[in-house]
Every structure is written in C-alpha cells, then in structure tokens.
Amino acid sequence: MIVLMKAIMKYLLVAALTLACSAAWSFDFEEEFTKILKDGVQKKIEEKSDAATSSALLGLVGISQEEEITIGRQIAGNLLGASALVKDRSLQIYVNNVGRWVASQSERPDLTWHFGVIESNDVNAFASPGGYIFLTRGLYSLLQNEAELAGVLGHEIGHVIRKHHLKILQQSSLIDLGGKLISRQIGGSDKVQKLIGNGAEIVARSLDKNAEFEADRIAVVLAARAGYDAFALPEVLQQIGHFAKDDGSVALLFKTHPHPDDRLEKLGLAMSDRLEDVKGKTLVARFYRIKP
C-alpha cells in the first residue's frame, strides 16, 4: 500500500512538473512570438516608408488613443517644465486656431489637439503623442505669415498622426509587449514617466530620417488641404538652412533632423509638379506678430 502511494505521489509530481514546464515554455513562446511579430512589422515599416502602409502596420502593434494621450500628456507636461508657455493668450489662441484647422484636414480630425508657443530662443518644434504640439518663440519669430505657421504645425501634426514617437517608445524594452502591457501598468504619472525615460528626452531623440521626410510631405499636403500656400514650409526650411552650422539656436534641431537642404531636396522630388497649380493663401495680414 505504501509502495503504491509512493508510486502515485511520484507520478503526480512528474505530471505537475511537466505541466509547469509546458506552461513556462508556452509563456516564453508567446513572448518570443510577439517579439518576432513586432520585429517583422518594424522591419516592414522601415523597408517601405509609404505613409498609409506604415500607419496600417503600426496599428497592429498600436496602443489605444487613451493610452497615447496619457503618454503624450506626460511628455508635454515635462517639456513645459523645461520651457514655459509664452504668456500671450492671444498668441496661443491664434496658434491653436491655425493648428486645429490644419489638423482637421488630417485623418485624426477629432483628436483633442493642443498647440503652444514656448519660451525659448532656440529654433525648434516638438510633437508629443496624442496631439500635443509646441514650437519655440525662436522659430515663431522667423515666420512671415500664417501659411508658414500652418506648414510648421503640419510637420508636427504629421509626426502625431503617423505615431512616430510612439514607434520609438515601442522599440524600447519598456513597452516591448505593446498596448496591453501599457494598459495594465499605467496607473499614475510615475509609471508613465518610467515608460518615457527622463524628463522630455523623447522629444530630443532623433527620429528616423524617413519619418522627418514623411512629416514634411504630410505638412505641405495638410496646408494645401486647409487652403494655405503649400510652398510656405519650403520657405521656412530655406530660412532655417541659412543659419550658420555652429549657431547654438539650431544645434538641437540640426542634430535631430536632416539638414534643411536635404529636406528641400526630398520635398522637391515628392512635390514635383503636383502642387504647382494649387493656389493657396499666405494670410500675411492676419498673421499674429509675437511681442518681443
């Protein structure tokens, strides 16, 4: 009887161990499978930077809009911790009107978009997931008309609608398993902060060059759709290209973006004669001049 009991116990132990190993293998396999799937999708995106394709593929490993806004809000709050808003309500309302109108021409017209001009003499603009977009006082001061502002905001809107920064986050190990893990972990700003790294460093990271070129192409189209002169963004790029390379105010911009000459070349190839006959407004008279 005791021998029989020992045999049964041994059998049960072996069975339990087998089951445990099987479960562990199953978990590893699932994790590995997810990684392979994600890597495959990313590779596919890099192979073909076509806008519609990248958008569709990103959707496979995407996160919910609510999660995107939670992440973007944290990044925006951090960025504003580094540079506060220019305290000019009329300016901020004006920029939000222009930005919202341009964003309404995108495939995410109902996102709650936010735009702001921040206190920095650097020439730069930043996009954060979920529709938070900022440009510096230094960049705004270079602009000559509303169409140029629309072009600059259109570029950043392009980053948001193509989820370029989320793609960077997805490439990090912190959200390796994608949206489901985020939704379980997000419970407060501390946890979101762990997700995005230090402060607002995510906006200082270089995106893939193709993402910048894609955002330029989106910008001129959104501006054209909104009724603006599509050639306004190239004019801004031209002005930025005239900064001396060692000018500190463009140091971060030049570090994180392709040179304006390269961007103009790529835009020229993409625009070709497609936008030549599209007339648009510049609205010089309505352009809000920033106070010094």
Binding site: E119, F243, L269
Partner: protein, 94 residues
C-alpha cells in the same frame, strides 16, 4: 530677409531644381541671427525637465474645437479641398 520666394521656385518646378534652388548650400550663410535674452533648450534641459501641471493645464485651456476652427478658417477665406498625400519619392519610383 530672404528673397527667394515661390515665384522663383515655381519657374523651375517640375523637377527638383525648384526647391533645390532654395537650399543654402549646407554651409549656412549665417544670415539669420536669433535674438538673445531667453535661454535655449538643449538635450540636458529636456532630460532633466520636471513635469509642470500648471503650464499643461494652461495649454489645454487654449484648445479650440473643430467647429471654432472652421469659423476661423471662414474668417480668413480659407477653403478646404481634397488632396492626396504625396508618396515617398523612393516608393513611387519603384
């Protein structure tokens, strides 16, 4: 400040010359000089930035809804139109 405007560009459009003619030649002319007085915004500052809820709430208070943006466009006589996204030159040439 800069005199290369779109009329000049469009004369050459149809090839890449139009926008390339706007290029600085990469070296930069130093023609554009930023005003001074306000600090810049570098990587170090961005990395060490601390969350500012007050400023975030302020920017969110400026949000414009879609209908108001439409009114703003009408005031500027801006008319929305259909236009397809531009394909990447690399993709479209394949």
């Amino acid at each position: 400040m800069l005199n290369v405007r779109k009329e000049g560009m469009r004369k050459d459009s149809g090839d890449i010359g139009g926008l390339l003619s706007m290029a600085s030649g990469r070296a930069g002319t130093g023609k554009v000089v930023a005003t001074t007085g306000i600090r810049g915004l570098d990587e170090v500052e961005l990395k060490s930035a601390k969350y500012n809820e007050t400023e975030l709430n302020l920017v969110e208070s400026y949000a414009i809804n879609r209908a108001d943006a439409q009114l703003f466009a009408i005031q500027g006589k801006l008319v929305a139109r259909q236009f397809d996204y531009l394909p990447s030159p690399e993709v479209s040439s394949k």
